[in-house]
């Protein structure tokens, strides 16, 4: 099987107070199609740098990033949107506040496509948009004409998730996407996330701070510490772990 994503000796270095600082150190990793991988790490472990490097917001100092065996290390973030979608931690980052729910979904339906001077055809697409919104847990299908700025954080993040998954990209990046929500909204979105990933066999890499979620969800668990991958556990290894043991890993 061709791996979906391969990292070969990936490094990312910055200069801090005239001293080189290694944020990602010699990362080697293979993710296969359909895998749901959870990434755990304390603050400052390099998780966001890792995601930004995969998404193309940062270019690695050295190493290689392969996607379906093609080298995409030098591709821009915009070029990678055809392959990679992302849900950010902050619900405000993934949606256009002044546009309506339906307009946001329509934008996501044309992810990665060239935006031409053709009518946007919102009316024609409304049945599809409504059908997509109906799959969401918080009745967004009845609020398609509402500006996104008037939605709650939970509704907005659910919309973000839908927008990131509507096109079924090759890799879904979830950047602590439930951490800014209250406990009820967070659990509802996490359950919906898991169900969507399983139903559509999505390949997913999810950052979480929640140790319970890290053990409960996903097929694999990676632990990042000071820019290095210190653990790569498969499902059975994960199942044998306790929260306390995982806590010790992080410390």
């Amino acid at each position: 099987m061709t791996p979906r994503m391969t990292l070969n000796h990936l490094n990312f270095e910055i200069t801090d107070n005239n001293q080189p600082k290694q944020l990602l150190s010699d990362l080697n990793l293979t993710i296969n199609p359909g895998e749901f991988v959870v990434l755990l790490g304390a603050n400052g472990a390099g998780k966001s740098t890792f995601f930004n490097t995969i998404a193309g917001d940062l270019t690695p100092t050295s190493g290689q990033l392969l996607f379906n065996d093609h080298d995409i290390t030098q591709q821009s973030a915009q070029q990678r949107t055809r392959l990679i979608s992302r849900v950010y931690q902050d619900p405000k980052l993934g949606t256009a506040a002044d546009m309506t729910v339906a307009e946001n979904i329509l934008l996501a339906m044309r992810r990665g496509q060239h935006r031409r001077i053709f009518p946007r055809r919102l009316k024609q697409q409304l049945p599809t948009i409504k059908m997509l919104a109906k799959t969401l847990p918080n009745h967004l299908d009845q609020q398609l004409n509402r500006p996104v700025s008037t939605l709650s954080g939970g509704q907005r993040q659910t919309l973000n998730f839908l927008m990131a998954t509507v096109q079924k990209t090759e890799l879904l990046l979830l950047d602590e996407h439930t951490s800014a929500l209250d406990a009820v909204s967070s659990q509802a979105l996490m359950t919906f996330t898991n169900q969507t990933i399983r139903d559509h066999h999505l390949t997913c890499l999810m950052i979480t701070h929640d140790l319970k979620d890290a053990l409960h969800y996903g097929d694999r668990l990676l632990v990042l510490k000071a820019g290095e991958l210190i653990a790569d556990l498969n499902t059975s290894e994960k199942q044998s772990l306790t929260i306390d043991a995982l806590f010790n890993y992080l410390n």
């Binding site: 949107t81 949606t95 256009a96 992810r111 935006r115």
Partner: protein, 287 residues
């Protein structure tokens, strides 16, 4: 009555400037100072072109000139990472010399024979009515073009790029390119407004850009207070109404016997009042 018709007429004419400013200030959330250079650039180009070419060509050249001015600002901002305000100020400063070069002097008169507003059209109407019809037709065409553009796939990406560049980029929208096109179009509209105002007034002046930013913003802010609907077409119509209301307020101020030399001071005061009032009201309610 004629004074009111003439004021409404001017409000319609100047609303083209406000529509241009709306693209950068409200859609792209980009405070573009280029407007004070691209407006007189359009006037200067239009006046110069009218000496040897027809009216349509003169306005076309004015539009293209404005687009190029916008392109300079957009490149400074998007590709050389110059701050938005500074990028606009750099372009407008440079444009002063460019405009002087085009005009060859501080101002240039436009003859009656080569002037959109002196065309032997609609002879049954009085001069004021004729000007009103011409300006109404121009602004309707501009409104349809802009509204049409905003409801295209590209227009939606323009709105998204201004609203949330991170989201737009993550949806595969070429944010820099899209913003560049928006700034270019905005200045094209503004320069076209400059060309039309020059023909309306019968002259182009190198200093006619001073204060046009306030005029453009006033129409937008008054329009937002009058907002007749939440869709973009409604917002655009509100701006045109805002421009007319702004002119009527200025007329009222001048009718009250204030000095015409204080015109720009009143413009700034009117804008300040419309900006402050709702915030003040909100503050009083929440206190």
């Amino acid at each position: 009555m004629n004074l009111i018709i003439s004021t409404i007429d001017q409000g319609l004419l100047w609303s083209l400037l406000s529509l241009g400013v709306f693209i950068t200030f409200r859609i792209l959330k980009f405070p573009d100072m280029t407007v004070e250079g691209s407006f007189p650039l359009g006037a200067a180009l239009s006046a110069l072109m009218l000496q040897q070419h027809n009216i349509a060509f003169s306005l076309f050249v004015a539009f293209i000139g404005g687009c190029l001015a916008g392109l300079v600002t957009a490149i400074l901002y998007n590709y050389f990472h110059v701050q938005s305000l500074l990028a606009g100020i750099l372009t407008l400063t440079g444009l002063y010399s460019v405009n002087l070069r085009i005009l060859g002097q501080v101002n240039m008169a436009i003859g009656d024979q080569h002037n959109l507003y002196q065309l032997p059209l609609l002879h049954l109407l009085t001069l004021d009515q004729r000007l009103l019809v011409i300006n109404l037709a121009i602004i309707l065409v501009a409104l349809l073009l802009l509204a049409g553009l905003l409801y295209t796939e590209f227009g939606q990406s323009l709105i998204a790029a201004g609203d949330n560049p991170t989201m737009a980029l993550s949806q595969g929208i070429a944010v820099k390119r899209t913003k560049t096109i928006g700034i270019v179009l905005s200045n094209g509209f503004i320069a076209l407004a400059g060309g039309l105002v020059a023909q309306y007034n019968g002259f182009a002046d190198v200093n006619m850009g001073i204060g046009v930013m306030v005029i453009g913003l006033s129409a937008i802010i008054i329009g937002e207070r009058l907002l007749i609907g939440k869709h973009f077409v409604a917002k655009l119509i509100s701006i045109i109404l805002g421009s007319v209301v702004y002119r009527l307020i200025l007329l009222l101020v001048l009718q009250l016997g204030f000095n015409a030399n204080d015109f720009k001071l009143f413009s700034a005061v009117i804008l300040a009042i419309f900006i402050i009032t709702p915030q003040q009201k909100k503050g009083l309610i929440t206190k």
